[in-house]
Amino acid sequence: MRQLPWLSLIIFWPLVAACVMPALRGDAVACRRFALLAALGELALCALIAGLFAAGSFGPALIEDAAWIPSFGIRYSLSLDGLSLIFVVLTALIGLCCMLASRHDDRERPALYYGLILASLTTVQGIFLASDVFLFALFWEAQLIPVFFLIGVFGHGDKLRVAMKFFLFSATGGLLMFLAVIALGVLSAGAPDGPNFALEALTRLDIPQNVGRWLFAAFVLSFAIKIPLIPVHMWLPDAHTEAPTAGSLILAGLLLKTGGYALIRFALPLFPEAAHAFAPALTVLGLVGLFYASAVAVAQEDVKRLIAYSSIGHMGLAVAAIVSGSRLALGGAVLLMVSHALTSGGLFSLAGAIGERLGSRRFTILGGLWNKAPHFGAAFLFCVLASAALPGLSGFVGEAMIVFGLFKVNVLAAGLAVAGMAATLVYLLRLARDVLYGPPRSALPFPDLDARETVLLSLLAVGIVWLGLFPGPVLGLAAEPLNAIAARVWPGL
């Protein structure tokens, strides 16, 4: 039996669905249903592949490879190993959540709205699956386009300026990385098998130290903007605040993760020497981000903006762990990223729900929501606690692994990380207090969660609890690829 092109199916199924959307443009309900079905299909497909993968049908990695632009050694090559699989399933899950979270943003032009969400799923899946660096760069640039329109057309407030800011920040990094990718191709032209963009072959390339550092800097700048690492995080609070709920979910749940994933998958193995050289700087930036984000988050007046800043802190911690040189912390970083996608996804959906019900998300009109809407309150508190890394919930495992890992390699960094995590508690508790407790400051009614929102949050909650109690399977999936990368970057480990 000839094997199905599973990976291409994962990538292009949402895009095909997006192309069908315009046919339904007159009918908002049909659009919703179709988009939901498409997202369910994608999740089912990913679950099926995950099952087959766990059963060992594919061996260590599932690979698709075809000649694409042979004159330059560019191949259409995709590969799925345990690490990619985690993020691929996560993408499908967040995609489903996006469909569930959108009831108030899609009133105008529903076909375009859902089409853009589906298209962005395609580009993100492409990033997680590409194993040809040119293909990766293509998806990396392409992912900006649907999100740009999603924010610009369906966002709130000063959406146009925010969308431009997002795009220009990302494109600056993306184009510099693009140049670095070209440079890699040029460097590989002298290799025995000619010009080549396969990640595997490029890692074996002998790059001069000086050149390697420049290329690493270009790659990391691009990833740092996406992650976002301070001081290139400026686009994120605005983008999160003005984006529609699904846009925030995609940004926090997927785009930020592409940055962390690409750092692990591409930047580290391609330039191990430069990774060592730049590790202290990246650690400092990540940890400073943790404190900085906490300090700024406390001062925010908008729920979504506060959650946006919390992303900077969490992802900063993940970056510090990724470059730390500890295999334990590296696994923790992967877990933390997945956990962050789930918890921030939940928080952003709930913040979106607040905005839909009250017309604003400012703290001045919130308070007392627990009494008004107990289910909403419970869900909100659950997500806040998961974000604060309560034991038993997903955040805890990741953060614990990172701290243990850091202690082994760098006590100072580990101490700062712990202190930084304590600092995050300040704003998270403030978030819970000002939203849920105290006297209600708005006379508007606040209906409790409806069935759709309950499904959405239950999905995320199951993920959070599962990851918190049984992280083993996920860590097991990531173990082999991470071992390979760690062995390459830190051979003595």
Binding site: W68, I69, P70, S71, F72, R109, F134, L138, F139, E141, A142, L144, I145, F148, F149, G152, V153, K159, L160, A163, M164, F167, L168, A171, T172, L175, L176, F178, L179, I182, A183, G185, V186, A189
Partner: protein, 462 residues
């Protein structure tokens, strides 16, 4: 004799087609639709000739016959209804178009300095007239004059440069004369490059470009920017590939400065524009900076990269200017960026073509512009122009910005009542042309190997 006919079939077709169209007007009762159909027929023949893979045609002639055939056909398609509605359709329009294409073809495959000058001037003279085709349009007349006067100056500089080269080498053949050593050749070459650079709108001799593009009718601007740029770039590539090492050492630093300046001026200039045609003009200036960068690396794979980029660029500008024409009402062109607000929803197809053209100009995937940038910057890096490439990439970010500005106007702002969204009925030819351009841009972005393989097959042996 027959070998001559086969080798020069495209030239003969274009020349004869132009004549025939002009002669047709002497007949009493020629239906107006006859001119574009005849012109289109003769414009298609060089393309068929190129596809057939003739014996005796040089690779560059083959490539350009195909490319110019596509450009001319698309222009005729875009012009047909446009010109009719605005009352300037006629024999001269289509005849001059074919002859201009003939001039471009001669310019592109000239091996001889005189032929190069003749081709350049034939192409330009016809273009001067085409730009002023709308007699009742003052802006067009002014644009033609603004193109003509500096153009004549540039021709003088070019001819003087050729004279110097001839004086130094005693040969009119491009390859042989450039091989001659000495400062006189280098000085002549510098003047030639300035003359060609004018036609390519390389900074600092680019100043005519925005005015002319703004004044010209949109389909003519599309033809001007895609065809004449492509042909002049072919001449530039030819000259650059034959330059002797010592002249190279002398002139290349200046070319590097010109390339950097062109990219910066084009991209930065576009940001400040409120007029869409001027914005596209500045963006085409910036694209020529990338071409010049590839031309400097012509012997390190830059030639193939530049040819691919030129083909992609021709599609981009035909799509963008064609869509501007198609989005216009019965009078003039829709020019103010504010007048494009919300058009993406009112006219999704025409605005979609403009959006794809802009995305490609900005180098976004999955369009031809993305692959083109990859090739051009790859060539520059392998030739060792690392600083120039880095500078170019940074200016490209600015290029993304103005493309987004127009895209944002199309899709993210509600339309203003002051600017009615009404457009004229473009007719099937223009619709087909726009569709083919958009499909070509995406197709080249996803499957560049088809064109790359063709280019490699044509030039690989040589």
């Amino acid at each position: 004799m027959s070998a001559f006919v086969v080798a020069y079939f495209p030239h003969l077709c274009l020349a004869f087609g132009g004549l025939l169209v002009l002669c047709l007007s002497m007949a009493r009762s020629v239906p107006a639709g006859f001119y574009p159909v005849t012109a289109g027929l003769f414009a298609a023949l060089p393309g068929l000739w190129a596809v057939a893979g003739p014996q005796g045609g040089s690779p560059i002639a083959c490539f350009y016959a195909g490319l110019l055939s596509v450009i001319a056909l698309a222009t005729i398609g875009l012009l047909a209804r446009y010109a009719k509605r605005r009352g300037f359709a006629g024999d001269a329009l289509y005849g001059l178009l074919l002859w201009s294409a003939l001039g471009m073809l001669l310019l592109a495959d000239a091996d001889d300095w005189i032929m190069l000058a003749v081709g350049l001037e034939l192409a330009s003279l016809c273009l001067y007239a085409l730009i002023a085709a709308r007699l009742d349009d003052n802006l067009g007349t002014e644009a033609a004059l603004k193109y003509f006067l500096p153009g004549a100056m540039a021709l003088a500089v070019l001819l003087f440069g050729m004279a110097l080269i001839y004086a130094a080498s005693g040969s009119l053949e491009i390859a042989a004369s450039l091989a001659a050593p000495g400062p006189l050749t280098a000085a002549g070459l510098a003047l030639v490059l300035i003359g060609v650079g004018f036609k390519l709108s390389l900074a600092p001799v680019h100043l005519w470009t925005p005015d002319v593009y703004q004044g010209a009718p949109a389909p003519v601007a599309a033809f001007l920017s895609s065809g004449s740029k492509a042909a002049a770039a072919a001449a530039l590539l030819h000259v650059c590939s034959e330059v002797s090492p010592e002249a190279k050492e002398l002139l290349w630093p200046a070319l590097a400065v010109a390339a950097g300046l062109t990219m910066a001026v084009g991209n930065l200039g576009a940001v400040a524009q409120g007029s869409v045609k001027r914005l596209l003009a500045y963006s085409s200036i910036a694209q020529m900076g990338y071409i010049l960068m590839a031309a400097m690396a012509v012997n390190d794979g830059g030639g193939e990269a530049a040819l691919f980029y030129l083909a992609a660029f021709a599609l981009m500008d035909l799509a963008a200017f064609g869509a501007v024409g198609a989005l216009s009402a019965e009078i003039g062109d829709r020019d103010d960026i504010a007048a494009y607000r919300g058009l993406g929803y009112v006219h999704p197809w025409r605005a979609g073509v403009l959006a794809i053209g802009l995305a490609s100009l900005a180098g976004l995937p999955p369009t031809a512009g993305f692959v083109g940038k990859f090739l051009v910057f790859g060539a520059a890096l392998s030739a060792g122009y690392v600083g120039l490439a880095a500078f170019g990439i940074i200016t490209a970010v600015v290029g993304v910005f103005y493309a987004l500005r127009l895209l944002a106007a199309l899709y993210m702002r509600e339309s203003l009542i002051a600017h009615p969204a009404a457009v004229y009925a473009t007719g099937p030819a223009a619709t087909l042309a726009l569709g083919v351009m958009a499909a070509g841009l995406v197709g080249l972005g996803l499957f560049p190997q088809t064109l790359l393989g063709t280019i490699a097959a044509l030039f690989g042996g040589a």
